[in-house]
């Protein structure tokens, strides 16, 4: 298989483009998933079958909700902030931001799982309760995916540092370019999680 510099560059560009396209398409897929949940919430709310949509305006433990939300937003903001610093060449800042983000993500994940244990209503006791449990499941998936993606980015950066020397993540090598494209898509996904997280916070904990 021939590997002229032009061909290598072409395939690298295709690869970097794929990370960009793939990241956006993944957000698209996720949007439809989230939208299905949001649809269910509003549908059951407007149906109010048996007057059991949200009796007594039952609400899930708001302390948990806000903490999880805060941590998720924190991780997202840190990822975004970290990427800004990375683009300016401040790799150390990026590491700190992202590891903190990973930590926040992991704690948020555990809190979210634990919330199911301390729920103040039975899962099937109302439409709100059902959609809330569905939301928790999706949130667990989101937090897992987001934190995983964040963690693998930092891990990759560390390994690149060990194997290819300091500044490998900033270099114009194929590994560097691929890495930065991946980080960009990851940050975008966290932005999306922030947006959808805000929407669900309003739906389940605020309104």
């Amino acid at each position: 298989m021939s590997n002229t510099p032009e061909e290598v560059e072409f395939e690298l560009r295709a690869h970097v483009g794929s990370l960009w396209t793939g990241g956006r398409l993944f957000i698209g897929i996720y949007t439809f998933l989230i939208a299905s949940l949001a649809f269910s919430y509003f549908y059951l709310r407007s149906s109010n079958n048996s007057d059991l949509w949200r009796p007594n305006h039952v609400t899930a433990p708001t302390a948990y909700g806000w903490s999880i939300y805060g941590m998720m937003m924190g991780a997202g903001i840190l990822a975004y902030f970290g990427q800004t610093r990375l683009r300016k060449g401040q790799v150390a800042d990026w590491f700190v931001a992202c590891w903190t983000g990973v930590g926040l993500g992991v704690v948020a994940l555990f809190l979210q799982i634990w919330e199911l244990v301390v729920l103040n209503f039975y899962p099937g006791s109302s439409g709100y309760a059902s959609t809330f449990v569905g939301f928790v499941v999706f949130n667990i998936i989101s937090l897992t995916l987001g934190t995983y993606w964040l963690e693998t980015c930092v891990a990759r950066a560390h390994r690149m540092g060990f194997e290819m020397g300091e500044g490998a993540v900033l270099a114009n090598t194929s590994a560097g370019r691929s890495f930065r494209a991946n980080v960009a898509s990851m940050t975008y996904f966290w932005g999306f999680l922030g947006l959808s997280g805000t929407m669900f916070l309003l739906m389940f904990y605020v309104l």
Partner: protein, 643 residues
Amino acid sequence: MTISAERPTEVATHSASPYSSKKPRGWFSQHLGTALLAAIIGYLIGHWLGNHIAWNYPTTAATGQNYVANFLALLFGVVGWLLGIGALNYPLAKLVGRSGEHEPEEADGISKYFRYSTNHKTVGIQYIVGVLLFLFTAGLLAMAIRTELLNPTTHVFSPDTYIKIVSEHGTIMMMMATSIIVGPLGNYFVPLMIGSRRMAFPRIEAFSFWTFTAGYMVIFSALPYGGFPTGWTGYAPLQTQAGPGMISYLFGFAVIGLGMMTAGFNVAVTIVNYRAPGMTWSRVPVFVWGILATAALMTLATPALFAAGTFGLLDLVNQTAFYVNEHGGSSYLWQNLFWFFGHPEVYIMAIPGFGVVGELLPVFCRKPLFGYKVSAAGMIGVALLSFFVWQHHIFQSGINPDMRPLFMLTTEMISIPTGFIFLVGLGTMYKSKMRFEIPMLFSLALYFNFLIGGLTGVFISDVPVNVTLHGSFFVLSHFHYTIMGGLVFAFMAGLYYWLPKMTGKMMNKKIGLWHFWTMFIFFNLTFFPMFIIGMLGQPRRVFTYAKSLQGLNDFSSISAYILGFSFIIFAWNLMYSMYIKPEMAPANPWDSLGLEWQTATPVPRHNFDRIPVITNDPYHYAEPGATPLVDRGQSSSSSGYQA
């Protein structure tokens, strides 16, 4: 045109990580056997865990079933399967920062087909086996259904068994049909047709295949679990009432959904990014347009199914009430979520068929494709519109009546882009020079069948007429005409056309003719009477019917047996042509201008020695002075064997 380069500071480095591993070989590497073993272990662990958690739940005592155990068993089984085949190696390696730059090497010989492979061509062939597995299983179930319907009063199966068979047949066929062309032919040929050496995400592609097979096992597990009584449509509250087989259905859909999303994701990103230089959008082959349109649906519509299935599982396992009216849920919620997926789903099954025949027709008409842009626009238009028609499946269910004219309009409108396919087909046939090879015969059969299927769809989309036809055998015949008469025939066309490229061997023509004519004639004889049966009042999924309809039912059943036999002829042809008496294929047996035919046979590991530079689209038949497809100065040589 050359590929300009901003020269990188170095040629690609590959980190010397052990993940970029040696060739897998031997019994103690990862392969189908380890996958099966790990799946069984996972299943047992999950079952144990479920029992440990839920043995004292009131629902366990009350129903005698432990849904938590059933679900966790299936979940851990699937995870075990994926772990065992090696699909999760890289995701786990990434946690410690290992790079994915270096693809694992492929195993030698036939064992590569039993392993996790990042070679899209291997995955394509694996998908053929997977798809045929689904097809034959569900086909046997269909034979059982027709046997039951031979007589309205003498029953072969108990009503419980019968409904289990009907449900399983429908579900397995629908799951198979989602991937029957995208899986084998899409994965194998899209990179070749766009001049790429690889897929964008080969690991995700392989993951999609092994998830697909896991889905088969999950949905098949419904049978030993006692089946599920809801048909493939899974309506609540019957779903909530059902036994443990329902979990297999719901979770099976979630797993297959994951396979669909990942397969569609990979192929869509590949088409967008990996087109060879010079391959502008107006030079992309029609088959690739079809796969792109399908991939858009696979990625964006399937999440609704995933959500619907998750909510159903939550209802059964966690006692939520998504679909239970009496507890604040709604049975309409399932209907809406399911059909929001369900309608794009059937276009996932129609569009690849259009892509295949659009690709094949110019080759066998020796004429350019008529209306290339119209063809692409038609497929994209169908895909887009398919999101806006779903309530035509539930016109009489008690939905807001004001919605009905709206959905009638959108459904009628979708027949406009669907009609483009016929415009393109007929235009290509006009004043052509047709060669009636077997792929051409199957393609022409698609036009014949889909015409009937599509037109009957217009009848059903009309709300007043829908009042009579909904839920009857008329609808059943409509969708068998479109899905089986369209997609499955297109699959056969594609197989007969492309197997010489995939394997270097021709499919036997004589047996192929027997296969085609038996399948075509008896397909029509099986399903055409069903329009009449439906109009005369026989609903779907019933084991008894008016005595006066027995003649038609018997005619249909006997024809169905022979139709089933035609698949045996097909299997025989496959065996004969591939193993028993293979006949070597010439490099380009159909004289096609397509780029995939310009690779060597067998197709080298990285497809093209040099990335081709595209200078034209592949439809310039009957145009002696046309610009060639590929810039000869740059491309690989096309004949002979290459390492």
